[in-house]
Symmetry: D3
């Protein structure tokens, strides 16, 4: 387990099959390049664990989910380019574009994780916080959370996923536009109205974490084949037509319906006992392949 | 009329131009292959009726909308394959995939019906119930409805339309993911919050049916050309870009605006009388063509 | 400024960088071809103004946002075709299709405007009103607004943008279908529930206008590079997959992140003063190019 | 076998696993509604045969592949509508649109057939002939074939598949446009240059049929899992981005690679013998399911 | 007619219904902003002519189709920005992007023209020449034509349509990439191999023009409803899936099949006479509407 | 340079800015997991080299481009799963799907490389060879090349890119289907007819390599901003509509047109000298960032 921990993220297993990733970069969980590179790697490692079935993402700091980009410590390479070198604008654009795509890819790690990722937010959640949250599956907020799509305040459009995902996640495009243009803070209640989160938990860090762990433990008891397939198909549905998704679903389930989990689930209902499912990675661990 | 009735679905015309399809497979409206094949055929037949303009879908049973797939009576062919025959996994996948697509196609019947389909749900609505509801145009729930995306509980991802359509229908993707992973029951009020239904009617079967019939009777008085075109264009908009939909709309309405319904509608306003529109099928019945 | 005014629309600048366009065609702001052609032109002109950063759209009439199409004064060319000339249906369709596309293009003017467009609705908002509102970025309604997707009542499907955009803007597809089929009036509160507007302002014309101007003034203080990019990327996200939008965003921001606005924003935070940004058009006015 | 024959199409099995469908409606294989309804049904039945692996489509008439639509015998229902009944243009459009979609669906039958369909053309191939050919997988022409996209000569755009598929099949869009506008005849050699056919066989009906059967027999010896998957994935690739197709392919092959055909193929290479594969339908015949 | 002529383009009607647009900006038909703005307007005007059915595009100069962008006379506004004003890179990008889109829109004029556009190329055809050609329907080249995708030689990617359209027009993506990277000249024969043109006419300007006019005159005799619909549907097919195009086609032809051209075409065949069709604009001239 | 070499691939710089990658895994360049993992890494490293502008891919073996998958040495992990462990089919599918996606990603490395990749094929090129070739930009074949889409012969559909890319690259879909179903060998000449390669070079390994290097040296002299942008935009065009590509192009070039390469190119023409461009990576090396 310990080798899953990084410099900025701490991984634990508070319940069977439930992996908890907590950001721990005091004082405000600010993200520089090293932080988001580690963020992505932690998700990749957790996804390969033998017994993982659900992931919970939270902040280990009492007052901050994250204050977003780290503008202080080390200047962002995007800006060092132009500060230190009078570069050709096209060559600067080439490198900035490359950097943005790497950053987007890292923050999309929860989407690439085959298992559900539940995010529990509390306290201050600014700028990059929204990009991070939007890439998770299930989103809970403590009532003390204060959100803001802060980017417009620093002269840039939110390019790490907020603008890409928010219009697909929510049911009030007008509110999305207003919040993104104005960078004004919004509460957990407004976040729920917007559809950014699905539950407001009264309290702060501990309360929302408990609620997230509760739903995670519930999901961890289901068939991993069913849960993982559901994630894959829901993400596909977001970006495709109904007809294309139905076709993809048929291709996907043609293989997956041959699982033993279905007979186990049916048997458990008949015999009035809890079903026992195997994890996805336990039997055939992909890490073995990597060593080939 | 009577020839529209099937073994499991009963068709009536409770008001002019309003066709009511009621599922009647006691005790719980469980669906096996025969049931969903008939379901599809009933919609096809109703769509060809001379005077049809709106369809209402409901359950004729007091306590159940539907409990979903019939796991008891006859084992589902998906599973018979593997139970009775040790078959090659690829050949099994070929046949399973074919079966899923046929099933999806049947449950999408309300979408292929050119006229609005209003579904009235009450009581227990599990598993396949959500696939069925999601393919209807207007969705009302009695306050006593208990929904559940039950599939994860039996080891499979909901592959008959729930996962394809829910992300397009609703405004809270986080809630969709949570409900699909956890299979937990949710109430009519939460269904409305989710955007799965647009109205919660206090009461049970009769109350929600009355509300659905009321809106159906209202729609039945409108120009069928306008209503049918609206359905076509809204479904197209769901799956296409705004630009593509506007172009399709122009192609569609270039023909449809030549209708006499517009002058009738304008005239009725001027003369302060109700407009009188013809049904779509009455004059040129497609059934005649089939006999050619 | 005065040359921005048209016959039917009045333009003013109630606050720095905030342009207000008010419809003034008494008694009910009915739209004929001349009105929507001017509507589109006013937006194009305002978009080229040196100092524009935000646009507010409202009605100058006390009781009406707009009653929609002008069916009385001059018969719509669509119908003149068939009334005056017994024309070949295919040739009529050719010209009707062309006319619809021109009309759609005019009403989409707020989408083509590079700056945010905030619409403030009040009073009667029928038919074309919804097409107009749906093409704006941020949508506020006075509590006295009465909306209706009126088209079904006059025998046609709403083809100028309502059906194309509503399914993308809102989180309750069932309600969209019901409102579009039934043409029933709905209140500001229901519009907010639907996601058509993001704020209901207690009162009428003046109150909602004040609220819209307040948010506009807030946005006008942000970096125009950030705000304009945000609009572009959000509209792109609506119509593309997450992956495609992330790629487009990287291409877009590779150029935009080279702006001086970012250092200005960062500097202003450090020095605790308001940032000072340049407008997009001021320095390089495109009108000069046109004269080439 | 005999029950596969229809009134207009004759089915035979000239080689193991190779089904030959020949059109036999003297004198010119003209298609009316009954003919294309049977065309579609023959493909559906053949697709369910126990031992089918490849299908060859040809004409049984010496001089005609097909002269296209049957304009003589029975007037097409499209036109009867307007000839016999002065109908509302919108209602006529509703029924015409429905009819076109049914017709398109029937002619697309070779695409829905899971097995490769090889078409052998000769003699006269006009109008609908091109729609039919374009929906097949592999296309051979006898050197005596004379093609024409005849529709422009009778006042309509080719709407049964020619215009939809040609731009995807060929590598000279300019030539496609010219041929579709001018309705001029083009030879087998020009068809090959265009990419409509991949082989010109010197001679007429018998020669091209022999060549098509030869390639069919070759394909019939391959693993049906490989061949059927190849067809599915190639058709998907035609209509999707490379990224989407790669993702679909992974979902598809995740199930299919579990087949025993791979070990059989590998073993046969090692042991220098012909591999022996099972057909897709033989073991688990879907017709059994239908009887459930 | 004369009012169709511009400063740089000359319009004539060499045969009934055939409009010929010739570029006449000696010495090399170089394009500056004024030239492409007029180019677009000429197509718009010609499209509205009463009797237009086909358009032919050619150069009036003996040795040049076009040498592409005019780099000499007036510096391109894109570059004046940066030369004369040290501007913020983001604001420069905003205006450059706007300018590119206007330019692209102008060069796409042949695509927006509802009638077929046949381009006849000869002599030197560099850079923008390829963007122009690629937006036409049918493309003929004199054997003396020398083409080059010249843009890479001046430090930019061809952004006015060449890179967007070539991959869809041709059947050899490898050759497209090579020609676009290397900017090397290629002959008419190689252009035909590539699929950029469909016919190489031995000779120069006059010979290729005669060939283009011959095919134009042939097309001009067909039903304009059929030809115009064919263009619309082929362009739609290029950018959409087969399924989407078939659906669009059904919507389009549901209106168009009600034309009298079909009975006229059928009657002419029976009576062995030439059919007589009306032009699209003659009866209902859209220019009248504009005056409203 | 030497650190670019791997175990199976050798990298050299035969001309300024031209990087040559040669596969050297005697006797037949068979690919196992280690080989394709290194293949991907070599491309990533070369893409970051200071002076890279064009990449050439070839085989260092005299008789083989590649014989495809290595079926002999180590059994493919796909098959080890099932051989050694009787695993649940759904869990096997999960891991197989993951493995296919990793493999596809590795073989797509030339597409992710920002610079043109020219592939020179000769000798035997089977199975995976086609997946590899299809992901390169410019494709040349020695006349002695023998190709085959071999996968159908071993019981699987070609899932590493052949089926995804071939339909987009070529202009004869019928031939693609035939070759993929039949696995028959095809010559360099047929490959050119198909559009898989754009040039057949008389001879073998050395001859085709010389031809590829010649075109690479030509491209290496062009503006890297122009060439790299051209690649990006052509790949985008392959997978998007013309309208979407034009919009993306405008966003891309809005930044890129600010390059100094354009003035350098223009100046060099005026002064009749060769232009001197900087490489993309030289000035701002991304490897520095990685160390941050």
């Amino acid at each position: 387990m310990s080798q899953l921990n990084g410099e900025f993220f701490h991984v634990s297993v508070p319940a069977p099959h439930v992996y908890l990733i907590q950001a721990n970069r005091a004082p405000v969980n600010a993200f520089n390049d090293n932080v988001w590179r580690e963020y992505s790697k932690v998700f990749e490692k957790v996804s390969l664990e033998d017994e993982v079935r659900v992931v919970v993402l939270a902040s280990g700091l009492e007052k901050f989910f994250t204050a977003g980009l780290d503008c202080k410590s080390a200047p962002h390479p995007m800006f060092r380019y132009r500060l230190n070198n009078p570069v050709d604008p096209a060559r600067a654009a080439f490198h900035l574009g490359h950097h943005i795509k790497e950053f987007q890819h890292a923050i999309a790690a929860p989407e690439r994780c085959p298992f559900p990722v539940i995010v529990a937010t509390h306290g201050i959640a600014l700028g990059l916080a929204i990009d991070i949250i939007a890439a998770c599956d299930v989103r809970y907020a403590a009532s003390n959370t204060s959100f803001s799509i802060k980017e417009a305040d620093v002269g840039l459009a939110a390019d790490i996923g907020t603008l890409a995902r928010l219009p697909k996640l929510t049911g009030n495009q007008s509110l999305v536009h207003e919040l993104a243009y104005s960078a004004r803070p919004f509460s957990a209640v407004e976040a729920k109205e917007l559809g950014l989160v699905s539950k407001v938990v009264e309290g702060g860090r501990q309360e929302v974490l408990n609620a997230a762990l509760a739903v995670a433990m519930n999901i961890a008891e289901k068939s991993p084949v069913a849960v993982m397939g559901t994630k894959r198909l829901l993400l596909h549905a977001r970006d495709n037509t109904v007809a294309d998704n139905l076709d993809y679903t048929a291709a996907w389930n043609a293989g997956m319906l041959q699982t033993a989990d279905i007979s186990e689930a049916v048997a458990s209902v008949r015999r009035k006992r809890k079903p026992i499912f195997k994890s996805m990675n336990a039997q055939i661990n992909r890490k073995a392949d990597a060593k080939l």
